[in-house]
């Protein structure tokens, strides 16, 4: 992943396109942290593919000078798996919103996790549907808590959100994610460091980036109050403790929840390929047809 010849700078990763997000949107910090992480890794832009679905967050790849693939709503993960399958040498990063990832796209998460596809998945969690102007998302707090702090949420939930929110960190941990971490737009340096760790991790890595939507559900100030690093005693090799923390925390813990490497989909299929490889295309095809006579 790293080349030693030149040291790239943020300029090398910033595209010409000016972000279209609202001023103050948490996604700016997510983006800047990503530039920084890419600088740290010094990866060649031509070897990186950023994949996203639809949402404010989904616009991110446009702002980065790497290859990008901006697909339909909710399908960033299987698309990213496809890219990685085609070329395992690439650094593949999927990004998207809480709705994109855990509403319409929620069916893909467990499967990309259990296959341990070697990609990094950054969810920009603002607990709201930003792009469609502020409906509740799978992570919006229930009752009136969020609704009364928002101008848009009352449209869909005039009497409060009746659904219980999903705990996406606990879910991803239960699915068996090999690496999972949480950061916050308000702490961009830590976020960037988490990206670096996630990208260096071989296998599926998940980063929940708490990234407020200042326009429809501005949580900057409330979240600043409730963000705290994982306790120093937390052991990222202990999945079970991580789940417990995720399910019982009354603050948003940031840091690495788990880091438990296991063989990736690529490792396992490579092993199969090594075992069965034909001498040449031609001989392989000939052998198949010989078997059909």
């Amino acid at each position: 992943m790293e080349t030693l010849e030149i040291q790239r700078t943020v300029k090398d990763y910033r595209s010409e396109v000016k972000p279209t997000w609202c001023a103050g949107c948490g996604d700016f910090a997510v983006l800047n942290a990503l530039y920084k992480a890419l600088v740290t890794l010094n990866v060649d832009p031509k070897d990186v593919v950023l994949v996203s679905g639809i949402g404010c967050s989904g616009r991110l790849p446009e702002f980065v000078n790497t290859f990008g693939l901006h697909v339909v709503h909710g399908r960033a993960l299987p698309t990213a798996m496809g890219v990685k399958t085609a070329n395992p040498e690439l650094t593949v990063i999927a990004v998207g919103g809480d709705g994109d990832g855990f509403a319409i796209g929620g069916g893909h998460v467990p499967h990309v996790v259990r296959r341990n596809v070697d990609i990094t998945y950054i969810v920009m969690d603002n607990q709201v549907y930003g792009l469609t102007k502020g409906q509740p998302s799978p992570t919006t707090p229930s009752g009136m808590a969020a609704v009364s702090a928002s101008t848009s949420l009352p449209k869909m939930a005039p009497w409060g959100v009746v659904e219980t929110p999903l705990n996406i960190m606990a879910m991803v941990l239960t699915y068996g994610a090999a690496f999972a971490a949480r950061g916050f737009s308000g702490k961009p340096n830590e976020l960037s460091e988490l990206y670096v760790k996630a990208l260096r991790h071989k296998g599926f890595s998940f980063v929940q980036a708490m990234s407020p939507c200042v326009t429809f559900y501005d949580t900057y100030h409330t979240w600043k109050e409730v963000v705290a690093p994982l306790p120093a005693t937390h052991d990222p090799a202990d999945r079970f403790a991580a789940i417990q923390t995720a399910m019982t925390e009354d603050v948003f813990h940031t840091g690495v929840f788990v880091d438990i490497p296991r063989p990736t989909l690529g490792d396992l299929t490579d092993a199969i390929a090594a075992h069965t490889r034909a001498e040449s295309r031609e001989s392989g095809i000939r052998a198949i047809m010989d078997g059909m006579m």
């Binding site: 496809g82 499967h111 295309r281 059909m292 006579m293």
Partner: protein, 599 residues
């Protein structure tokens, strides 16, 4: 001239009784003898049990369809006779197992033979399950197939299983042969034709042919979700693709499968998925994305009876509308359909080639009959195949700023950079974009790019080799067809000629874009055109009518049919012969016929 030999054998029984494997084995044996073979099966909707049927037709000439009627019918049980009895041609041979079936009365059979399959299997082999192999022995003996050759096949099939199983099956085979030798007059046996030296051939199913075509065309990433009757494409590839450095992933659903194909294609691979109607319906949103991104990929659709879950084990051609028109907005795409097992192979190669050349999704419409039919075909000369790859940026484009991913070129095809290989990063987006792939939401931008995408596909209508004619081209009756009805339709042309009715056939392998030019040429001089299709609304006929409106007035008469079974040659010939209003051409008064259902 060597004498034409053409024989159809049908076997009916209970699913799980080995009807299918008996049939497959016998068919393989005949193919090895050098005959052309074509099989046909209907599976019960149940996993185990339910009525199963296997038919195979063999000839020393070309075999274009499953055969209209059976010369031999072998019934394992009563239900088989009840369901399959109608299929025996008058004068044909009926065999039945008296342990499971009443001696049929009132039959059109020329002779009726009681065949104690259960008894032999139980008493002499000691395993009732082996009765299907007894039946294989009987068929082999009847057809004069050397017992040794048949025993080889049995060894091949069961050699890897437990020794007892193999032994029992060899014994069953021998007892089948013996039964014929001892009980049946030699003069009653079929006399097999001399088979001349022939080109090298292979025997395979439509789905195998499609998969093999994919491998030859360079398919390297396959993503799929199981569904009848497409699953065996994925299963075949799961075994074979790793040998070529390719990868197969069984995804969580069809949406994941096609979006993974999009990712893989963006990443530079030739990617494909396979499904049937329900799965393809789920794919259309992403199919639109692939069209918008101008990414090559292939979707194999092994069509089954719809709508909805419909009749999952039965055939139909009901997904054409979906393939051509599914998804919102106007989306570029190419739709192909193979006519037979050989076509399954070459059309698969074409599918990948066209996908690459036109940077577009290609939908490959096969159907349940073709998918699971095994047929002998000439062994493809794979070294001679032309394989196409997508257009890439020319070497002198080194600056990402001047690279135009969606360049407006004369042929509307633009150079595609590949991550990891080309130092030309760009962002592909499903939002409307300009030549640079940058988002462009202006009226002019959207119009220009919509034009580009549409014109690119129009050009594909001029690719050669996607139509074929047959019969007397000066005939005034035309038959236009696509997919598996092509075989019976071609035989129907011959049948019609036999009864003095001149007809000609146009077989179309590319359904979208519509081959307007060739179709108009074909219709020139026609008084009427008939379109046999296995769907309820005449989906291809409707496409034709839309595209030919104002360009011709030849009446297009739809022969739409949704029985879940393939067409027979006779059926098409009769429909044409009895077309009301065309007595001058057919010389026959149309008969009013009640719909008949056989199956």
């Amino acid at each position: 001239m060597r004498q034409r030999f053409d024989l159809t054998i049908r076997v009916g029984g209970e699913g799980g009784e080995g009807v299918m494997s008996a049939g497959e084995l016998a068919a393989l044996g005949f193919a090895r003898m050098g005959l052309n073979v074509c099989t046909f099966r209907t599976n019960p909707p149940e996993i185990r049990g339910g009525p199963a049927m296997f038919q195979f037709r063999m000839s020393n000439g070309p075999v274009l369809s499953q055969g209209d009627q059976a010369d031999f019918l072998l019934c394992f049980n009563q239900e088989a006779w009840d369901l399959q009895g109608h299929s025996l041609r008058p004068g044909g041979t009926l065999m039945y197992d008296p342990a499971e079936c009443e001696p049929p009365r009132l039959t059109q059979a020329g002779r009726v033979i009681a065949l104690p399959l259960t008894k032999i299997a139980k008493d002499d082999v000691g395993a009732v399950r082996a009765k299907n192999v007894v039946a294989v022995g009987v068929m082999g003996a009847f057809a004069g197939m050397p017992e040794d050759a048949m025993a080889d096949l049995v060894r091949q099939k069961w050699g890897k299983r437990k020794a007892e199983i193999l032994e029992a099956n060899l014994k069953a085979l021998a007892l089948g042969y013996q039964h014929v030798r001892e009980n049946i007059d030699e003069s009653e046996a079929i006399s097999m034709p001399d088979v001349e030296a022939h080109e090298p051939r292979i025997i395979l199913s439509g789905n195998e042919a499609a998969s093999l075509g994919g491998v030859c065309a360079g398919l390297s990433c396959f993503f799929g979700y199981p569904i009848t009757p497409a699953s065996d494409i994925m299963e075949w590839l799961a075994k074979k693709l790793p040998a070529f450095g390719g990868r197969v992933v069984q995804t969580e659903d069809e949406i994941a499968a096609i979006t993974a194909c999009i990712g893989a294609s963006f990443g530079g691979a030739k990617a494909a998925t396979a499904s049937s109607g329900p799965g393809v319906s789920l794919m259309v949103e992403a199919l639109g994305l692939a069209g918008m991104l101008e990414l090559p990929l292939v979707v194999f659709d092994a069509m089954r009876s719809g709508p909805s879950t419909g009749m999952p084990t039965k055939t139909e051609q009901g997904d054409l509308n979906l393939a051509v028109h599914g998804a919102h907005g106007d989306i570029p795409r190419i739709v192909l359909a193979p006519p037979d097992v050989e076509g399954c192979f070459y059309t698969a190669v074409d599918a990948f080639n066209l996908a690459e050349k036109y940077q577009t999704p290609v939908i490959y419409l096969t159907d349940q009959t073709l998918a699971h039919r095994t047929q002998t075909i000439r062994r493809p000369d794979t070294d001679a195949l032309a394989i196409w790859d997508r257009k890439r940026p020319s070497a002198d484009v080194t600056d990402a700023h001047s690279y135009l991913r969606y360049e407006l070129s004369p042929d509307h095809i633009s150079p595609m950079a590949i991550p990891g290989r080309d130092n030309l990063p760009y962002v592909a987006t499903g939002l409307e974009h300009d030549e640079h792939a940058h988002i462009d939401q202006t009226p002019a931008g959207h119009t220009i790019m919509s034009d580009k995408r549409a014109r690119k596909i129009e050009a594909a209508a001029l690719e050669p080799g996607f139509t074929e004619t047959y019969g007397d081209l000066s005939a005034e009756i035309g038959i236009i067809c696509w997919g598996s009805p092509a075989g019976p339709a071609r035989e129907a042309v011959d049948l019609l000629a036999g009864s003095g009715i001149r007809a000609k056939l146009l077989l179309v392998r590319m359904l979208w874009p519509v081959r307007q030019k060739e179709i108009l040429e074909f219709l020139d001089g026609c008084q009427v055109a008939v379109t046999p299709e296995m769907n309820h609304s005449g989906q291809f006929a409707q496409l034709l009518k839309a595209r030919l409106y104002g360009l011709t007035n030849v009446p297009i008469v739809q022969l739409d049919r949704v029985t879940g079974l393939p067409f027979g040659a006779q059926e098409i010939a009769e429909f044409v012969a009895e077309l009301p209003g065309y007595e001058r051409l057919t010389g026959r008064a149309p008969r009013k016929r009640a719909r008949r259902f056989e199956g």
